[in-house]
Symmetry: C2
Subunit: 426 residues, 2 copies
Amino acid sequence: MDGSRPKVVIIGGGFAGLSAARTLAGEAVEVTLVDRHNFHTFQPLLYQVATAGLDPADVAYPIRTIFRKAPNLTFRHARAVSVDVEGRTVDLDDGESLPYDHLVVATGAAAAFFAVPGAAEHARPLYTLADARRLRNDLLGCLEDVDAHPERFDGGAPTFVVVGGGPTGVETAGALVELLEMSVRHDRLRLDPERTRVVLLDGVDRLLTPFDPSASRYTEETLRARGVAVRLGTTVAEVTAAGVRLADGEWIPAGVVIWAGGVTVEGTLAARLPGGRGRGGRVTVTPGLSLEGHPEVFVVGDAAAVPLGPGREGPAPQLAQVAMQSGRHAALRILAARGGPTPGPFRYRDKGIMATVGRRAAVAQLPRGPVVTGTLGWLAWLGLHLVYLVGFRNRVVVLVNWFWRYLNWASGPRLIVTDLDREEGP
Amino acid sequence: MDGSRPKVVIIGGGFAGLSAARTLAGEAVEVTLVDRHNFHTFQPLLYQVATAGLDPADVAYPIRTIFRKAPNLTFRHARAVSVDVEGRTVDLDDGESLPYDHLVVATGAAAAFFAVPGAAEHARPLYTLADARRLRNDLLGCLEDVDAHPERFDGGAPTFVVVGGGPTGVETAGALVELLEMSVRHDRLRLDPERTRVVLLDGVDRLLTPFDPSASRYTEETLRARGVAVRLGTTVAEVTAAGVRLADGEWIPAGVVIWAGGVTVEGTLAARLPGGRGRGGRVTVTPGLSLEGHPEVFVVGDAAAVPLGPGREGPAPQLAQVAMQSGRHAALRILAARGGPTPGPFRYRDKGIMATVGRRAAVAQLPRGPVVTGTLGWLAWLGLHLVYLVGFRNRVVVLVNWFWRYLNWASGPRLIVTDLDREEGP
């Protein structure tokens, strides 16, 4: 290491932090990337882990392996607990303090429960790999409970509730129907397939609001045709261990409640940075993505209210593409401060959005282009996700898994693996 | 289901229980297989999961998938808490009671800590998949700690202690050396490769006592050549969070202590069955593998003192082969009681034993045949394990993993994945 080179600290190894780090790899700066996990998570496929289609290892990749050939980058396995923007240091949970010349805060967001009583305790979010594993264990555990005691579940007919009709909710509901079908067909679980229900709730009047209304219609029709009870204009008033109560008083019993109701920056490290806040607690940043008055501190990805760009209103959506582009922009600004070319203000380049609804069904919406649905949309979705998956090994394993599963509806990794063996008892 | 068909309950989905269940699949009996996990674990490769060579899902396979085409077999995801041999029922931890006409107890064993102070608290056993995941998280977490704070580990030179020179200890020590090499070479962890140590301890005077002395010598020489400090005739008096104290008073500091010191049946469900006990609490059984006075209750696999057979002294070793053969024998006896041919007394057929010492090095000892070592032994070991791995998908994935790893010492799944995200702090 060269002590005279500027020190860059990046907090967070998600899409935004990783993109910043990649841009700085090999440049004349000393980069320290801090993350509480030793791996990057490919978040768009977490719902597949949750519904037992993929292994946790298929969607996670060790950060050290990614930066194996970047000697100017150091990985630090720790949780950043606070930032002193005046003293220019980041405090870690193991007691150490990292000084910086430039800081990139890419700490993401967390599940937003909107103060719905019981939601934080009884509903399962789906934002981290640990979330996905817990949800999978709950889903598979619930199916085993139904098989052992069908009388406790209305005669073998459990209900699963998915709260939130955005991409995560839609994808999870679609995959859950497939998991249930397979459980009955292949695993001979004693479920009543006619009466087992997946309910997808959303407060607004259509699914996938960021998409064109035609995509929303296609998605709703496809999900309904596959047996999902889509209930729009419906808000949740309370979640308990036994189900959800809707705002109009209706009670829906539920074996598992999945919370795909949105995210918030509140409660995360970025929430304790100085300056303004946008919707969902997203940190207000300048057109160059730094904190007002602190050109050396960048906030990027889900944590920031990333501007769409000059002349365009409102912040960009919290998407992987926005995270990657904003992370890269912060890195280019850091290089500019060290003599590189100065980039113009950040401008989001929409490369299209996609969501899968299930086997051979997806929606892909290109910018200013057509909405592609059905098998073609699904193939586009499949191809793009494989291209973006980090690391060769993962790509091959994911492909083998998917192909195998597609051919014979195979089990995939339907394992209930927890940190502890089932507790020792009397 | 046909209520008039005899009810068989099998407790445990390890090698013994699975083998019994497979033998009974398709026969005129109603089989319920009970396990606290919803998967079978391929125990001989747990050390690979622990040392980050394989994913947990590579060595586990859902039990429901294995018996997909056996309509007379029901899987029950529960922990059996007690057996009433007079009333012929098995009590489960969810409050239900399963009646049986024939019972197969295949509950395995647990780590034996031999009352060494601190061992149960601070040393990591390696018998279940959860054990392997915990050990892996500890090993990788320790390496990250060394990288962050080399001064806390004698300047970046941690010591790892493996207690027990049987196959598990030997295989773990060999794989650990490879993990350490790779961590330095590929992950650029700040370890001092010259002074980082793996210490393998055993109380007797040679490694792999079930093998021919020439195999023991080869194993010891190979491990030493690869940098393992093999210390024989050495017993552990105490384990603490910081290391181990030997019987002679010597103190060895340790980042992680791995306990491969043997297993015991004490503390498991089988320990509460009536009748005699052998060494390690193994349940005494008749030449037909049933409990004395209870021809309807069989105890097989690691849980039982399985006899070698007529005219041969002592119980069989606790090996996968013994488990499989004894499980099958119990099933044949059950079929005999229902009109099938009566098998003679159980007789263990030695098909050879193997242990791998590392990359391109293993020992394979055929019955009454030569001891094969080196690359040839390693290929034999590799082939046999792949043949025995349950399920097509796992075999392919394990092969891809191994081959990839062999070609370029790739990372494999070096993920630290726990049930909880790193705790939220201040």
